[in-house]
Amino acid sequence: MHSETTTNRAGGGFLAARRELIESLVGRNLKIRYKGSALGFFWSLLTPLCFILIYAVFARLLKFGGLTPDYLQYLVCGIIVWQFTVGCLNDSLHSISGNANLVKKVFFPRVILPLSTALANLVNYMLTFAVLMLYLLASGHARLGCGWLLVPAFAMHFALCLGLCCLCGTSNVFFRDTEHIVGVVSQAWFFTTPVMYPVSFQLDFLPADIGWLAYVNPMTGILALYRKAVLGHAIEAGGCPPAAAVAVSALVCAVVLAAGRQALRAGDARFGDVL
């Protein structure tokens, strides 16, 4: 019903003004996250460093190294990429319900809320990713021949995360169970994604000609792209062409994004009633 007035409400410079709103909300998300902590923003650099340290110790103790020569780098890369996805999932739950005071009192395009959550996480992720790159370069395991693959990797990853933010944010407004479901599902998702083990573990269970099935899990394709881009690991897909397998993941990312957009639209009219 507000289609006619939406543009009017912002007056002139619609896009410029919305950009400032998104910037403000992203800034607010980051500010609130580190509010009251002594090290503040440094945590986004400190956390990945601690991760690297912890996994380095345990990978050595448990003698997991036999899987690939650069297993530690493979693992740390997977963990840091995964952290972005799971961080978005957790923060998105309250991206709308946690802003009830705004949603109930001011009209603005609601998509801005999950979008700013995803962007705030992206800012964090960029920093941790920079730390990861420094580590890979320092440890001499960086293989950047296919570095351009980072572009589709980031694009797919962000699309997936934004879609999930919209889905979970909307869902949690109407069903508070979403929180608990997401907690369980994300744990299961972690173990069905080749974060700690290579894709070949899964491919062993699949006939060679339908190896792309492993890539229905979009994180499998995204991780494969990242690892190809920064570690030079080949993208394994059984008998299928790697490009086709990654395309399957990309398609799923697009579907999730579209579903998120649709859910947000459907929910938008009732946010004010429920919050």
């Binding site: 019903m1 507000h2 006619e4 007035t5 009017n8 409400r9 912002a10 007056g11 410079g13 619609f14 410029a16 003004a17 919305r18 400032e20 709103l21 910037e23 403000s24 909300l25 607010r28 500010k31 609130i32 509010k35 802003n99 005071n101 705004l102 949603v103 109930k104 009192k105 001011v106 009209f107 603005f108 109407f174 069903f175 508070r176 169970d177 938008d268 009219a269 009732r270 004010g272 009633d273 429920v274």
Partner: protein, 400 residues
């Protein structure tokens, strides 16, 4: 939408699913699906039609739960109507439920800029207006404290200040006058008047009938989700008083009318100097009451009395035929009429109600008493003073 229209509300109906008002969970959804039970709904608004012209200020009055805030939220766009549509032209700034949507963990300053960003005001522009906002809110150095440390007064003051300084085309204000001290209320009214006179559109909810009457060009009365009357502010405030009284006397007659009923006060009415019936206090501020009574038997030496009260302060003044030295030897069937003339020039501005009674000379028998049978409203006192009534004062100052 007509060119001169700022807000057009067409056939707006709003139903809230009652289950959604409580905690929602998947469990309820599943259970409801199994029981094939339709969720109960609460109908907050029914077929509301209203048009607000550009530059007009519209007041909305009605009792609690009449749907005033829902209507304002629908205009603001934070709630979507179940049926019908609302169209608004221009930038809307709103102060719904006493707040501008501040985040408790952010400082006043951060919240002000965030609100500006939401309203689409460029940051540079907000920086220019910032000092005015803080000045008007009068919160000083607290501006750099998280708003969760604010008193409720500070919170509302900052909210109002931002909402107004955003310079919207349409300002929606939900009951801002109920909070804040007298000084802030005065500045609020002044600011809203300036806003109104600069050709902007104002929609205002308030229970302060005096304030809303003075600031509105038109008033709409909302009752159980329907607009029952729209018109000039004076007429509507009178009509609203009438409705409340009718509801009060019709709803709980025991509480508002009692006595032995051997004699009954059948009608009380107010008239002006020419004797024509009036609904509001005439300009000369003389309350002329005519009181009709019936008597079922002969009663010796009865007393007719009245009381004037304000909702906040109770009885302000009361008297009767006995006190005034008017002897009524007896009343007898069928009945008759008594009239009072009360000079109300001393009264403070505000809302007043009048009660009437008919009792025995020794006050032991109450034949009939009518509580809050009449009401009147004084928009401005004859002179400035503190309190309810202006007493004659003579003062002399001597230097030694």
């Amino acid at each position: 939408m007509n060119p001169g229209t700022a807000i057009s509300i067409e056939h707006v109906t709003k139903r809230f699913p009652l289950s959604a008002l409580g905690s929602s969970s998947l469990k309820h959804l599943v259970i409801d699906a199994f029981r094939r039970r339709r969720a109960k709904v609460f109908q907050a608004l029914t077929d509301v039609n209203l048009e607000v012209r550009q530059g007009e200020s519209l007041g909305i009055i009605g009792s609690n739960g009449a749907g005033k805030s829902t209507l304002l939220s629908i205009i603001a766009g934070t709630i979507t109507p179940t049926e019908g549509r609302v169209r608004a032209k221009g930038k809307i700034s709103s102060l719904l439920e006493l707040g501008a949507g501040f985040h408790p963990d952010l400082t006043g300053r951060e919240n002000v800029f965030l609100y500006g960003a939401i309203m689409g005001i460029p940051r540079a522009e907000m920086r220019r207006r910032f000092d005015d906002i803080v000045d008007f809110a009068g919160i000083g150095e607290f501006i750099d404290q998280p708003v969760r440390f604010y008193s409720s007064g500070m919170y509302v003051r900052l909210g109002f200040s931002v909402a107004v300084q955003i310079d919207p085309d349409i300002l929606l204000v939900d009951e801002v006058l109920a909070v804040g001290d007298v000084d802030f209320q005065r500045r609020c009214l002044k600011r809203m008047n300036e806003f109104r006179h600069s050709g902007k559109t104002l929609v205002l909810i308030s229970h302060d009938l005096g304030a809303i009457q003075s600031i509105s060009d038109r008033i709409a009365i909302l009752d159980h989700g329907t607009i029952v009357n729209v018109g000039g502010p004076v007429d509507m405030v009178d009509a609203y008083h009438g409705r409340m009284l009718a509801e009060a006397s019709g709803g709980a007659s025991a509480a508002t009318e009692w006595g032995t009923r051997e004699a009954l006060i059948t009608r009380v009415a107010m008239a002006d100097a020419s004797g024509a019936p009036v609904k509001r206090l005439p300009g000369d501020r003389i309350i002329r009451i005519s009181l009709d009574y019936t008597a079922s038997r002969r009663i010796a030496a009865p007393v007719f009395g009245f009381g004037i009260a304000t909702p906040e302060r109770g009885v302000v003044f009361g008297s009767n035929t006995q006190i005034e030295g008017v002897a009524v030897p007896e009343i007898a069937p069928p009945g008759g009429r008594v009239s009072f003339e009360i000079d109300a020039t001393a009264l403070q501005a505000g809302n007043y109600t009048m009660s009437f009674s008919l009792h025995s000379a020794d006050h032991q028998t109450n034949y009939h008493r009518l509580e809050n049978a009449l009401s009147f409203y004084i928009d401005k006192a004859c002179r400035g003073f503190e309190g309810v009534a202006a007493l004659p004062v003579k003062c002399r100052v001597c230097a030694n």
